[in-house]
């Protein structure tokens, strides 16, 4: 079995934004589970750290939060992406992909 990956700094915020953009409003547990599902076995996610990422995004007004009731009838906080967050996601996704392409090209050429 391959060794699991730690997230690169800043990438958790991007993943959270993307999840909210594609899945609509979700609570913290939902976001964490979704990211783990997509990442399958390749990712180590200390699920609690998602809340630090959420507060950072909230403070930048890229997402908003609202208290609601979860599927099992408990009080939970639902997050949703804002217009500003969508713009940020678009630009960051592009940057990220350009960076990944660049790294891939350099590494491919080296051999």
């Amino acid at each position: 079995m391959k060794e699991k990956l730690d997230l690169l700094p800043g990438s958790l915020d991007l993943l959270v934004l993307h999840t909210l953009a594609s899945m609509g409003p979700m609570h913290g547990y939902g976001i964490a589970r979704r990211i783990e599902q997509v990442g399958a076995d390749t990712l180590i996610l200390n699920q609690g750290t998602i809340y630090a990422a959420l507060v950072r995004l909230l403070q930048r007004k890229w997402i908003e939060a609202e208290w609601g009731t979860s599927e099992n009838y408990r009080r939970a906080r639902y997050y949703s992406i804002t217009a500003r967050g969508k713009r940020q996601l678009a630009s960051e996704t592009e940057t990220w992909q350009r960076m990944a392409d660049l790294v891939k090209r350099v590494l491919d050429a080296a051999l």
């Binding site: 547990y29 609690g48 750290t49 507060v55 979860s70 099992n72 906080r77």
Partner: protein, 887 residues
């Protein structure tokens, strides 16, 4: 990240710091929801409940740690860290109450002194005066601003001429400094009372921006020759005499048995009198009536306001030009006029600049001593915390974190001390501002304002940072040289670097305290020298009782019969009357000696004039060097005069003055002047106080003058003032039932008032020195005690080997004295410097006076011995067996 996003996040972070509790609760709720959801899922996938919970906890992560990460992400980490440091510091302070109390009190002493002195400096020197456009006001004198009053003031003619001719001045107003010495009898409802007033030009208050509390101020029509007598009451008279009755405005009061119309009342804060007449209680103001005062010679001090965009230099050039034009246009006004302008603030505060700045520097010295002392205390306490620091660093705390932690503790101590000091200073300010007898302008305006508070905060921060950083550097760095974790065995005694630092600190304390002690001794010696100066009269056992004869009475007859009755009172040794108390009143008249064969040789000069009753010179205790005193029979005889020694030698250097004649030009003595024969020569009186040399003086007798004035009965008696006035009221009641006799003063207090600001300065510097020596004592005691504690083992060994207790004691005391002597050596240089700064404030003592230095040095050495004695005794009582076993 763009700017709005950045600002949103910054704002949110700042808010988060203050909303921590709510945010933490929210997070806790989310985490518990998360945990519960995990547990539910785990159970669904078939785990046992226990296993499910354990697994969920692992997946989520530690709650405490998550909370920490969350806080760091949402808030300002260093601020919250700092809050925790502060919290920790307060826990420490609660544990070490003794140390905390001493540190806080030391800081409070330093801060309260500095804040008070700064408030004084700020009030008198820095802050603009409480007048409208204060920076544009100019003080205009008749040539030499430091001349006696009659030479420095200007005449009505000069004033009107300047108003007409000056092109740099917007307005010129004035007041009569002589008017304040004239008193009036206030009769009507209630007991008769003696009150004083100042005569001001009708526009003066308007120019200065003084507003009435009730009614109005003076108008041009109040200055006309036939205007009714109108007065503006001060707040204190209104309160005291009229019970703050607003109906008084528009009514009349009886002043000198004539009705005076009250047109207004001033507010409680009277900037005019607090600037120009500190220490004089002014009761009312009246308006200058130009045509009535025109013949009185120089009577006015002038204050001008510069036109906009005019500079001080242009004023200085313009005023002499204006004077030249006046002389050309109105030759009849005489040639003896001049005009010199200087910024009003310079004139008001100029004399206090040096003493106040010196005081400021001295207060700074005290603060430095406080800082060194606090540094020493913190270092000593730091000794017991080295292990704590080393442990924290070993566990990964950075040096920066430790420095911030120690700095926070230091700041907490200093802030508490500063707060206490600020409160004490507030009290000091209140106390000083009500010292009505101290002649410091604006003293009533002394208070803790924003500037003083900002200064205090700056002082507090500087002290904390200097002490804290030095301490933290020492403590957090020391562990690298030797590992304090191993120090438990006390094999080595303390860090050598740390005790060296403490020695240096205490040496500096001694040095600063020594130079303060020298300054204080110099100031106190000067004051004592001044108090010993022979004034030419004996102020002790002399009482001045103010009497304002009824206007219609014959002044001479009234005063003579009053004197006869007073002299008959039991306990009265001598009595006389004068219109001019030396030290208090400054007035000169021109006169010249008559040279029989050269009638046109009129080399006149100004000299102090006192109009007196027969017997006054003797009652004052002034010696009569030759000739005779006035007699009652002189009233009907030819005009006679008594001159003082200085005037006599000046006018007739080679011959005896008695028998010569002097002449007074008009208006004195009528339109042709008057010629008088010298009948006596009196000893010199220092009429401007002990610091000024004697000038020319002469005495005229009241019997030969039809002159309406306020008189002081100078009574030589050992009776208390109250007993004397009670007796006088009884015996004078039949002569004049309306006599007030409410202004009876000891001559000594009048003399003391001229020394009041010097006395205040000397007592402040003396207080500073006492505080400094006290702090030094504490500092030395701390260092020596620490030394003894560190060397207990060594002392134990020495005693076990046969050293005697006396030898140990001598040794410790010797080390204490060595520290003190090092300090004295350094302090010597500082003292020479501060003596140099002080030299213009000294009287009769050289700034390098050996006795002063010896005295100050001896007091510090005595303090060193005092500080070393207890630890030395403790050292000599060390039981070798106990000391060695304790290790």
């Amino acid at each position: 990240m763009n700017l709005p996003t950045f600002l949103d996040r910054l704002f949110a972070r700042i808010c988060a710091v203050f909303d921590s509790r709510r945010l933490d609760a929210d997070l806790d709720e989310e985490l518990s929801h998360h945990l519960q959801a995990l547990v539910d899922d785990n159970i669904k996938s078939g785990m046992e409940p226990d296993e499910a919970l354990r697994h969920a906890r692992v997946t989520l992560g530690g709650v405490a740690q998550l909370r920490e990460i969350h806080r760091e992400a949402r808030g300002i980490a260093w601020f919250e860290q700092w809050q925790r440091d502060l919290h920790y510091a307060f826990r420490l302070f609660r544990r070490e109450k003794g140390f905390t109390a001493v540190a806080v009190i030391i800081v409070a002493i330093g801060v309260s002194l500095n804040t008070t002195v700064f408030s004084l400096v700020n009030t008198v020197l820095l802050r603009p005066m409480p007048f409208a456009q204060a920076d544009r006001l100019v003080w205009i004198t008749n040539g030499d601003p430091h001349a006696p009053l009659s030479g420095a003031t200007s005449s009505i003619d000069t004033w009107e001429g300047l108003q007409e001719m000056s092109r740099s001045m917007d307005r010129i107003e004035g007041y009569s400094p002589f008017s304040v010495l004239q008193t009036f009898r206030l009769t009507g409802k209630g007991d008769p009372e003696t009150i004083s007033s100042v005569t001001v030009s009708h526009g003066l208050f308007g120019m200065l921006g003084v507003q009435p509390q009730l009614g109005r101020l003076f108008l041009p029509e109040d200055a006309l020759k036939n205007a009714p007598f109108r007065v503006v009451l001060t707040h204190r008279l209104w309160l005291r005499r009229f019970g703050a009755d607003p109906g008084i405005v528009g009514g009349t009061v009886q002043i000198n048995d004539a009705p005076a119309e009250v047109i207004g009342v001033l507010p409680a804060a009277d900037p005019f009198s607090s600037v120009f007449f500190p220490a004089v209680p002014v009761d009312f103001y009246s308006a200058v009536q130009n045509d009535i005062m025109r013949g009185d010679g120089n009577t006015l001090f002038l204050i001008g306001r510069m036109k906009p965009a005019i500079t001080q230099g242009q004023v200085e050039a313009d005023l002499p030009l204006a004077i030249a034009q006046i002389k050309k246009k109105y030759p009849s006004r005489g040639q003896y006029m001049a005009a010199v302008g200087e910024p009003l603030h310079d004139w008001v505060a100029g004399g206090l600049r040096k003493p106040l700045i010196f005081l400021w520097v001295s207060a700074g010295f005290v603060l430095a001593i406080v800082g060194f002392n606090l540094g020493g205390l913190l270092l000593a306490r730091g000794g017991s915390r080295r292990r704590e620091m080393a442990l924290r660093m070993a566990l990964g705390a950075s040096r920066g974190r430790i420095i911030v932690q120690l700095l926070t503790e230091c700041l907490g101590l200093v802030a508490a001390g500063s707060l206490l000091g600020g409160i004490v200073s507030w009290g000091f300010n209140g106390l000083l501002s009500t010292r009505a007898a101290v002649e410091i302008p604006l003293l009533q305006y002394l208070r803790l304002d924003g500037t003083s508070l900002a200064y205090t905060v700056a002082l507090c921060l500087t002290t904390a940072i200097i002490c804290g950083v030095a301490l933290a550097w020492k403590l957090s760095g020391g562990w690298q040289m030797q590992n304090p974790l191993n120090e438990g065995s006390k094999g080595t005694s303390g860090g050598p670097g740390r005790s060296r630092t403490r020695n240096i600190l205490v040496i500096l304390e001694v040095a600063l305290a020594f130079s303060l002690a020298v300054s204080a001794t110099l100031m106190v010696t000067s004051l004592r020298n001044l108090l010993k100066v022979d004034l030419g009269f004996r102020p002790a056992d002399l009482v001045a009782v103010r009497v304002d004869p009824p206007v219609q009475a014959s002044q001479a007859a009234y005063i003579e019969s009053a004197l006869d009755r007073v002299r008959a009172l039991p306990g009265v040794l001598q009595a006389g009357a004068t219109d001019c108390i030396p030290v208090e009143r400054d007035r000169s008249w021109p006169l010249y000696p008559v040279v029989p064969d050269k009638p046109n040789d009129q080399r006149w000069q100004g000299a102090h004039v006192r109009i007196v009753s027969p017997g006054l010179i003797r009652a004052m205790g002034t010696s009569l060097l030759s000739g005779r005193d006035f007699e009652r029979s002189d009233e009907k005889g030819p005009p006679v005069i008594i001159v003082n020694k200085t005037l006599a030698t000046h006018m007739w250097p080679t011959s005896e003055a008695v028998g010569h004649q002097v002449h007074f030009p008009p208006p004195i003595g009528g339109d042709n002047g008057v010629t008088m024969t010298v009948i006596g020569v009196a000893g010199d009186v220092l009429s401007a106080g002990p610091e000024q040399p004697a000038g020319g003086e002469f005495y005229l007798t009241l019997g030969q003058f039809t002159y309406s004035a306020s008189w002081d009965l100078m009574v030589r008696t050992k009776l208390p003032v109250a007993v004397l006035t009670a007796g006088m009221r009884q015996t004078l009641g039949s002569l004049d039932p309306n006599l007030a006799l409410t202004k009876a003063r000891e001559m000594q207090s009048i003399v003391d008032r001229t020394l009041s600001s010097r006395r205040l300065l000397a007592s402040l510097i003396g207080g500073f020195a006492a505080v400094a020596i006290g702090l030094c004592l504490l500092g030395l005691y701390g260092v020596v005690s620490y030394m003894v504690a560190q060397q207990t083992r060594e002392i134990g060994i020495r005693m076990a080997l046969g050293a005697d207790a006396a030898g140990i004691q001598r040794d410790i005391l010797g080390k204490t004295l060595a520290l003190a002597l090092c300090g004295l050596g350094i302090g010597l240089c500082g003292s020479v410097l501060s003596g140099f700064l002080l030299r213009s404030l000294l009287y009769g003592v050289s700034p390098n006076d050996a006795t002063v230095f010896a005295l100050a040095g001896a007091s510090l050495l005595a303090c060193a011995i005092g500080a070393g004695y207890l630890p030395a005794r403790r050292a000599s009582q060390v039981d070798p067996a106990v000391a060695l076993r304790a290790e």
